[in-house]
């Protein structure tokens, strides 16, 4: 080894540490801006039809239940949102759902492992963004969808094919950066 290459090798640990630091910074930055979600797992249902299910409505919510039949031959894309009154991130997400609902995007809700009276109280307090609403108290239909936490939101195209799944609360950033372009793409 020539003295020059030996000297260069001396800097290798520093270069390695610097690269590691940069990588770590990128991960932290991604987590802050929401571009990188360390717990994010791609849905196994992407590109497939929503699973068949039968769920009871949320009584006295004033909206009809979600059925499998409602998730095919749609006039436009729809969102299916799994939520619960006991779920704190759902409260963070709620204003975005209200916004979408006001803009005319159909948001279908499935209350996950929630008592009907608690679901109703939540909607009275925060408003009801859901055009259709069912409840999955045992949480078994959620398993068929591959839900592993609430809130989780699925975007279905007009044929009822699942095109996008977001685990976690939809923030106004997520709405602008991810959801709006997708809604436009699948509108046609």
């Amino acid at each position: 080894m020539t003295p020059a290459s030996r000297r260069a090798l001396l800097f290798a640990p520093f270069a390695l540490a610097a690269a590691g630091g940069l990588g770590f910074y990128a991960v932290l930055r991604g987590m802050r801006t929401g571009e990188y979600n360390p717990r994010g797992v791609p849905s196994a249902l992407l590109g497939r039809r929503a699973p068949d299910f039968i769920l009871p409505p949320l009584e006295e919510s004033g909206v009809p239940p979600v059925t499998s039949a409602d998730l095919a031959n749609l006039p436009g894309p729809v969102l299916v949102n799994f939520w619960a009154s006991w779920c704190v991130p759902c409260i963070i997400e709620h204003p975005q759902l209200m916004r979408l609902s006001r803009e005319g995007v159909p948001v279908f809700g499935i209350a996950y492992k929630d008592r009907p009276e608690d679901s109703r109280r939540f909607l009275r307090q925060h408003g009801n963004p859901f055009a259709r609403l069912s409840r999955d108290e045992p949480g078994r239909v959620a398993i068929d969808w591959g839900v592993y936490g609430v809130p989780e939101t699925y975007l279905l195209d007009r044929q009822g094919i699942i095109r996008w799944r977001y685990a976690g609360p939809i923030t106004s950033d997520t709405l602008q950066a991810d959801l709006r372009p997708l809604l436009r793409r699948y509108a046609g």
């Binding site: 717990r39 797992v41 791609p42 849905s43 196994a44 078994r140 591959g146 592993y148 936490g149």
Partner: protein, 162 residues
């Protein structure tokens, strides 16, 4: 020995005995057929708890893990094979739910990592060894030979010991 002492000793030893750390502590969850229950446990240890992510559903106290334990047991009780139960969960939660991911193009790098690391290490060892082959020292120059002669030393000695 007095019986009181013996009793205390037995209690102490019982405390030292390693306790099984499975989360399935609820007997109502267990299948009545011990063979089926054993299959369900073995299978559950291969299934990742999606909530905690680094535990199997057999080890996790998360509610979803409990639900999935029940799903596994229901399907086994209904006569499903291990493969069918695994496929059922895989269809819903993807590769990530299997603690031992299947071999596919998307996981090839994951599986090949130990082999790649071994080959890289082997290459490093061989490379370093080749470099370590001692190089014969350059022959002494006329000037150096003259200096050695002046010091009263034999001409071809001392060059390599430095």
């Amino acid at each position: 020995m007095r019986p009181a002492f013996l009793r205390r000793l037995v209690l102490l030893l019982a405390l030292l005995a390693p306790l099984p750390t499975l989360a399935v502590s609820n007997p109502a969850e267990m299948l009545s057929d011990p063979a089926q229950e054993e299959r369900a446990r073995a299978l559950g240890r291969e299934i990742r708890c999606m909530v905690c992510q680094n535990q199997s559903i057999e080890d996790s106290e998360a509610e979803l893990a409990r639900d999935l334990r029940l799903v596994v047991r229901e399907r086994i009780a209904a006569g499903a094979t291990d493969e069918q139960v695994r496929d059922f969960l895989h269809a819903r939660y993807g590769d990530f739910v299997l603690l031992k991911p299947p071999f596919a193009w998307s996981t090839a790098l994951l599986w090949a990592t130990p082999l790649i690391a071994m080959l890289a290490g082997l290459g490093l060892i061989l490379g370093l060894r080749r470099r370590a082959v001692p190089v014969a020292p350059a022959p002494l120059t006329e000037e150096e030979r003259a200096r050695l002669a002046a010091l009263g030393l034999p001409p071809e000695q001392g060059g390599t010991s430095a």
